[in-house]
Amino acid sequence: MSDIINLTLSALIDKIKKKELSSQEITNAYIARAEKSKDLNTYITTDFENAIEKAKKFDEKANFDYKLPGVPLAVKDLFCTNNLKTTAGSKILSNFIPSYESTVTQHLWDEGAILLGKLNCDEFAMGSSNETSFFGNVESPVGKKVVPGGSSGGSASALAAKLTPATIGTDTGGSIRQPASFTGTVGLKPTYGSCSRYGIVAFASSLDQAGPMTQDVSDAALILDVISKYDIKDSTSVNFKRGDYFKSLSSNIKGKKIGIPKEYRVDGMPKEIESLWQDGITLLKNLGAKIIDISLPHTNYALPAYYIVAPAEASSNLARYDGVKYGYRSEGENLISMYENTRSEGFGDEVKRRIMIGTYVLSSGYYDAYYLKAQKIRRLIKNDFDEAYKSVDAILTPSTPSSAFKIGDKTDDPVSMYLNDIFTVPVNLSGLPAISIPAGKDKNNYPLGLQLIGKAFEEQNLLNISYSMEKELSFKNNLQDWWIK
């Protein structure tokens, strides 16, 4: 059984196809491990009985043409799943059972995958440490009382702890890449418009994007093959020609031009991050890539612009949670007091903070100074990347300005929490694809990630570069299973 959970997704699929493992054996192995790993608090909702049933059905009539034949997967609890509670980590949706399936998860099931359950996340994906979830903190398997990052913290933790062979998260400002970096896993945020947002609980519509969280780059390519599809139900979905990402993986990156943006050398960046980055540069050189110093001059404005645009959209997106139609309701004397009670009790502090910021920046008299200006900055940041991509194929940066921290360390200081996203938000503001791959460890043996940012719709390029680096890095988490009971 320990063999099963140590396999990558692609290795598992290989064994299923060779009939060396059955879907039931694999499903049971992950469920058994999850049962012993409750202390990590990765799951909000499990669907184990159904999963076993589905695995049995799969084995009875196995179809090996599927890309994910009989593979059990747990997903972030931001994806609406038909008939299974979907909470977005919030009290206000703690009783919500959708009658529909998100497009992205539907693609997984259509390729033979089996849902294990729903993974913890920051409330409405607002957070960088999974500490804002109504369902409690998630612990990272990399260390006791260490945050897994956020908002896809449950996904990252479950993946690193081998409770699911792969998973999917959502990334609005770094919510896939930062937790991937914190847990020694691979996280890919595809180009905006690649994966449908239909059925994903919205945080900030112009930034939200679903993506793979996997043990290695090949697995990320495999999942991307399944979930990146044009969807008419999402008006921002883009109908571009998608690659055959997994099949086309190549580690030959000779002659690729990699940009190193000087603005990402931020003040107070720990030495270990600086040297991680330097090692990455050296590695790429050794792999035959050409290193080019570039400038992304508006980088400094990305974080403030992000913390205007994202809360603005969120303040409007979350207006529907009003106690009228579904979800949590707290009665009141009249409509207004029902709204006030419902939303005061139903939302946590971080969500309320962002709703208030968002409401403020959209208010008449402040709109031009905040929202409109932030949109202009967003354009400038995009222009920076466009300019850079005239001379480079991809950009290498650290994924985060620091490694994972302890639970509770930053909860009283939202700004220092927000600073976690400093390297990831420019990517969302520009709609570009980016991947975080594990590249080293800090003095506490916590993982550190490097981020590769690509051109829009050129995920293949990004995957190939990280694939070639991954081979040389041979990163290992070497977790001690300390949480197992």
């Binding site: 609406c80 979907t86 977005a88 949706l93 919500f96 959708p98 009658s99 529909y100 998100s102 947002r197 239909y198 059925g199 994903i200 609980v201 919205a202 900030a204 519509s205 112009s206 008419i232 139900k233 999402d234 008006s235 921002t236 603005a312 959209e313 303040s315 409007s316 979350l318 207006a319 529907r320 009003d322 009228v324 139609k325 579904y326 409509l335 709204y339 409401t359 959209l362 208010s363 008449s364 709109y367 929202y371």
Partner: protein, 487 residues
């Protein structure tokens, strides 16, 4: 601009001109909603035409209904307006129980249609009323407060239905002009098939902006907005009340507060709903779920080709080609169905008679039974044959009225009615002469009196002949023969 018959509010020595602008909300005629595929049928069971998108379930996304875009562009062309090739959908944020998303998707700074105009026919000539813009937006659901004593019930059938908000310039000057404006706008949209204009079902409602200023003043006064008035009569009453209310305030040396008011149809008055200070801050911003709407030249020119002949052109044709008076043409073109009916009738029959029968007998009948012309019990084909029977002399105009009444009740063709009831006109001079002779024989006294100068008795003889023929005798022949015999 019309200077005659001005509508003015008089107070002491002052005269006030009334300035009116309308924001009309017209429901787009479309099978499905603006951003979802739910049906839009009126009068369905509550909450049976609601999709997950309309009810704003988590993760649901709006997808624009191309047909509604076409309808808006069509309407814009019908209003002689500029079509904006790029427009943007914004979110208008506010909380209400019947607004599931917590925002209405609307168009704020960049509407789909820009400036245009509508031509009104006033007694003293035409008046051009400016259109400021037309934009698309979602309708809200309906809150029902009077079914359950404890709770407000919400019906989301209407939630997400496409509306066109058509904003006029402040060019209207009287309740009558408002009447003509709404009717003309409604007529154009019905011609285009973009809105059914049914005010009872709420397909057409308006916010009315009213201000007054002393005659001769150039500067506009402070306006009040009267929300959501759903009949022309109420609009006119609301304007009348509001203009007088404002005049009273100004005459006392007061000033008008800019505010939103409601028209109370029971008390026939407007009352304050909220002041400018209490106005909602709607926090408009571009809807990030929708990309800017970009129309190609090809898309627009295809729609242009689908535009039918509109009331103004049709009226001109009716006057030029059929020699109708401007008044008659106006009546016949104001409703597209009426104009179609008219043109069907005159395909094979006399234009003058058709005009008179349609605007006279037929309109009276429809009015009486409260029917649309499309529901007329008398088909255009049957009316046409009735007119031809008159023209040929088969029946008299009088008999025709009897036949018309029977047609109205039995929906049969006039020929078979005439045959069944033996109503065919007696036009044989010999037969009529016989009857005339009988009448003269039977009434020697009256003949004498007539001959001695009582001319009025001529009608008596005609009546007697008609009585004997059950009114079927050809009146012209009766007249001629009587005259010959009596003189």
């Amino acid at each position: 601009m019309s200077k005659n018959k001005e509508y003015l509010i008089k107070r002491g020595n002052s005269e006030y001109e009334v300035i009116i602008g309308l924001e009309v909300h017209a429901q787009v005629l479309s099978k499905s909603k603006l951003f979802s595929d739910s049906p839009t049928n009126f009068g369905a069971e509550p909450n049976t035409q609601v999709s997950l998108v309309d009810a704003a379930f988590p993760g649901m996304l709006p997808v624009i209904n191309e047909f509604c875009i076409k309808q808006a562009v069509k309407t814009g062309i019908g209003l002689n307006a500029a079509i904006n090739k790029k427009s943007i959908f914004d979110r208008k944020n506010y909380f209400y129980a019947d607004l599931p998303q917590g925002y209405q998707i609307s168009q704020y700074k960049d509407p789909i249609v820009g400036e245009g105009s509508i031509l009104l026919d006033l007694p003293d000539g035409e008046k051009k009323v400016g259109i400021e813009r037309l934009h698309l937006e979602q309708d809200a659901g309906k809150s029902i407060h009077d079914i359950d004593p404890q709770n407000t019930l919400v019906d989301l059938n209407r939630s997400g239905v496409a509306l066109m908000e058509i904003v006029s310039k402040p060019d209207l000057r009287s309740p009558e002009e408002v009447n003509l404006y709404i009717k003309k706008l409604r007529s154009i949209m019905r011609y285009l098939g973009t809105c059914d204009g049914n005010m009872q079902e709420g397909s057409l409602r308006a916010d009315v902006n009213v201000s007054i200023r002393k005659t001769g003043d150039k500067k506009l006064g402070t306006r009040c907005e009267i929300k959501n008035v759903n009949s022309i009569k109420f609009m006119q009453m609301a304007i009348e009340y509001e203009a007088n209310r404002q005049a009273d305030i100004l005459e006392k040396g007061g000033s008008i507060d800019q505010e939103t008011r409601l028209f109370d149809t029971k008390k026939n008055e407007t009352r304050s709903m909220r002041s400018k200070e209490d106005a909602h801050d709607y926090r408009y911003f571009p809807d990030p779920d929708l990309l800017p709407l970009e129309l190609t030249d090809d898309f627009i020119s295809k729609i242009k080709k689908e535009i039918p002949e509109l009331p103004d052109e049709k009226k001109k044709r009716f006057v030029d080609k059929f020699k109708l008076t401007s008044y008659e043409a106006n009546i016949l073109v104001s409703d597209i169905e009426t104009s179609k009916y008219f043109e069907d009738v005159i395909k094979n029959s006399d234009i003058k008679l058709a005009t008179n029968w349609i605007t006279g007998e037929l309109f009276a009948l429809l009015n009486d039974r409260n029917l649309e012309i499309s529901q007329s019990p008398i088909s255009s084909k049957n009316l046409s044959s009735l007119i031809n029977l008159i023209k040929e002399g088969t029946i008299s105009g009088k008999i025709a009225k009897t036949v018309f009444e029977i047609m109205a009740n039995e929906s049969k063709d006039p020929k078979s009615i005439i045959d069944e009831k033996g109503l065919k006109q007696q036009s044989d001079p010999k037969e009529i002469e016989k009857i005339v002779d009988d009448v003269i024989k039977e009434n020697p006294k009256n003949v004498e009196l007539f001959k001695s100068g009582k001319d009025k008795l001529f009608g008596f003889f005609v009546g007697q002949v008609m009585k004997k023929t059950d009114g079927k005798a050809n009146p012209k022949l009766v007249n001629d023969i009587l005259k010959k015999k009596l003189n």
